[in-house]
């Protein structure tokens, strides 16, 4: 349990590639932070710098009240869970969990006690004498968790721990991990590229893009007030509809579509990108002040919802309808209410207002 701060952390690999450009993150005691971003954005690099597996090029890393930049991984009071579990194949489940404690020269009794306790917590008691190769993927993942838990670290680090599991197990383990973390109250940093994992597990999400932090915020903030075009389109499935336009009086003039009503206070004729979430749009057959003609192309059934694909003017546009809402026939109009618009500066990609 500890406060963790990353201060202007940078990583330049020996080949000259800069993978992380100055990351500043303050992590509260017991907080669950999720690093999310597309492949190659530097999530693993950042996590491995915290773990001590990758050297820190510049900046400060503080765990608890100690600057740990130059400490060995074993001395940082952290534990890490890897994507492919990284269990020792020749050791039993018990020894896999006990190995780190033995290296710390803990007494035999205290090791036995912590391992049994962790095994109980993770439902692994019957499997303690097995080898990793005799376990299922989910069980292996639990052993990896157990190995982290027994150390009673100040900080848990996870690098895509669920991506080798099938979808059903993934959902189940997601909930288990989060429950366990709450129970233990250990500060955690969790890397994933799965936005569902990010949204459901995180206290706060850090969205990374090309080695830069795009936004740090609660899942709610990230989703409802994305700080940039990148965050807006990266988080949320189906992705936010995005249109280019110019600020006009009383709204935004969209190229090839027309005026979208908006109560902005922006300078006229500056270039903006307008985003609107697919589920915030309604379909009607009657035009009014805030509708746009919608051309229906096809529909995807998702069970609980349906995705209506079509066009506004000549731009592709997706509407996410609740399962009870039928797609009406006849002339269609998309209702886009002014307070549902996200406005971004086209040049910088940053949120306006």
């Amino acid at each position: 349990m500890a406060i963790v701060s990353l201060k202007a952390l940078q990583k330049i690999y020996p080949n000259g590639f800069q993978a992380v450009h100055g990351a500043d993150i303050e992590i509260a005691d017991g907080e669950f932070i999720v690093l999310v971003g597309p492949s190659g954005c530097g999530k693993s690099t950042l996590l491995r710098m915290i773990a001590g597996l990758e050297e820190i090029t510049s900046g400060d890393l503080i765990i608890g009240d100690k600057q740990v930049n130059d400490l060995d991984p074993a001395d940082r009071d952290i534990a890490m869970v890897f994507q492919n579990y990284a269990l020792y194949p020749h050791m039993t489940v018990y020894n896999n969990m006990a190995y780190g404690l033995r290296n710390r020269k803990n007494s035999k009794e205290s090791i036995e006690k912590s391992v049994r306790e962790a095994a109980r917590l993770l439902n692994l008691e019957e499997h303690l004498d097995r080898r990793p190769s005799q376990l299922s993927g989910g069980q292996r993942q639990r052993v990896a968790m157990g190995r982290a838990i027994v150390r009673e670290p100040a900080l848990f680090l996870f690098d895509e721990p669920l991506s080798n599991l099938d979808a059903k197990l993934r959902n189940q383990m997601r909930i288990e991990i989060r429950k366990l973390q709450r129970q233990l109250g250990t500060t955690s940093v969790y890397v994933t590229h799965d936005q569902v994992e990010a949204m459901t597990m995180a206290d706060r999400i850090v969205v990374l893009n090309g080695g830069n932090i795009e936004q740090i915020g609660t899942p709610d903030e990230i989703y409802h007030r994305p700080a940039s075009v990148f965050v807006a389109t990266f988080m949320g499935a189906p992705a936010m509809n995005l249109m280019e336009g110019k600020v006009a009086t009383g709204g935004i003039e969209i190229d090839g579509i027309g005026l979208l009503k908006s109560d902005h206070k922006l300078d006229a004729s500056s270039n903006v990108s307008v985003g609107v979430r697919p589920e915030k749009v309604k379909l009607t057959t009657k035009a009014n002040g805030i509708t746009q003609p919608f051309v229906h192309d096809f529909t995807e059934e998702l069970g609980a919802a349906r995705l209506v694909h079509g066009r506004l003017g000549d731009k592709p546009f997706v509407i996410n309808l609740h399962q009870e809402d039928e797609v009406p026939t006849g002339d269609l109009y998309a209702t886009i209410s002014p307070d549902m618009l996200h406005l971004f500066d086209t040049a910088t990609g940053k949120r306006l207002s």
Binding site: A51, G52, L53, D72, P73, A74, I78, A79, M80, F82, Q83, N84, A86, L87, Y88, P89, H90, Y99, G100, N103, R104, R131, S133, R147
Partner: protein, 304 residues
């Protein structure tokens, strides 16, 4: 495999299938015939040696190799093992067997330890010219002992190591092959395992002993078989470096033994020589049999 396939064909078959089945059967038959003949061809001299070693010297002197069984078996083996012989009388079968075992084990274990540690350094430590040093080691494959035998002899004699086990074993154990195999194996061990071990507080030595060595045990077993047999069969180097008869190995000593037996009696004692030859062949065979089962077990448990 093919045999069971033939029999698992369903009984209700069309004429075409019968024909096909017959053909497969004949092929298997021919395959097996070739294999059996080959095996007999390879085994026959060994069997002949073994059988002849049960006859007395007179029978051998009169009618050569024997295909049968006689009553001198235990006596011949006892003489081969325990009768002192040689110019100085300082050597018997037991001490030659001991020397051979020391050479075989020293050679195999030495090679494995050295090449494993070399491969560990090359794969897991970032030092300058790591790749270069690997390739330099690799090119020594082109320089077997036979090529560098004179300088090696000079060095070993110069160090006063002639007629010692150290002089017998050490010059032979630097191994490019072993280093190469271990390097390939270590490179296939997932990177995360090292990282997990680092987080678990295992330093380089601990990681090597606690994790890498147990993971390599099939590799070690395989190399041990090969290297033991290779070391056991060394002839040229032991001949050169051991002049003291007390240091003779079996492979090196058989010839001398037969010579000295020949000198000391009217009938050449060849059948005792055959007994010693049989004894010489035994340990490598036992090592292969013993380690093979271990090796197969290791492979099928699929640890990595």
């Amino acid at each position: 495999m093919t045999v069971t396939d033939t029999f698992s064909t369903p009984p209700a078959v069309t004429a075409v299938k019968v024909k096909k089945r017959f053909r497969v059967k004949r092929e298997t038959l021919i395959d097996h015939l070739i294999l059996v003949l080959g095996a007999l061809f390879m085994l026959f001299p060994v069997v002949l040696t073994f059988m002849t070693s049960s006859y007395d010297n007179l029978a051998f002197a009169k009618s050569g190799l024997q295909f049968g069984w006689s009553d001198q078996f235990f006596e011949n083996y006892e003489r081969a093992m325990f009768e002192t012989s040689g110019f100085t009388g300082a050597i018997d079968g037991v001490s030659m067997l001991t020397n051979s075992l020391i050479l075989g084990f020293g050679f195999a274990i030495g090679k494995i330890v050295i090449s494993m540690m070399a491969a560990y350094a090359i794969v897991y430590f970032r030092f300058r010219f790591a790749t270069l040093s690997f390739w330099i080691i690799f090119t020594t494959l082109l320089l077997p002992l036979e090529v560098r035998i004179l300088p090696s002899y000079e060095v070993v004699q110069g160090l006063g190591l002639g007629n010692t086990y150290t002089g017998l074993i050490v010059p032979l154990i630097a191994s490019a092959t072993g280093t190469f195999f271990f390097r390939q194996f270590f490179r296939s061990v997932p990177e995360e395992l090292v990282e997990a071990a680092r987080i678990d507080g295992a330093g380089p030595v601990k990681f090597f002993i606690d994790i890498l060595v147990p993971l390599s045990k099939t590799m070690i077993a395989a190399l041990f078989i090969i290297m033991f047999v290779y070391g056991w069969n060394q002839y040229l180097w032991p001949t050169l470096i051991t002049t003291d008869e007390g240091m003779f190995t079996l492979v090196r000593g058989i010839k001398n033994i037969i010579q000295s037996f020949t000198d000391s009696s009217s009938v050449p004692e060849f059948t005792v020589g055959f007994a010693l030859t049989t004894i010489t062949m035994l340990p490598p065979v036992l090592i292969v049999i013993f380690f093979q089962s271990w090796f197969v077990k290791g492979l099928t448990e699929s640890d990595k």
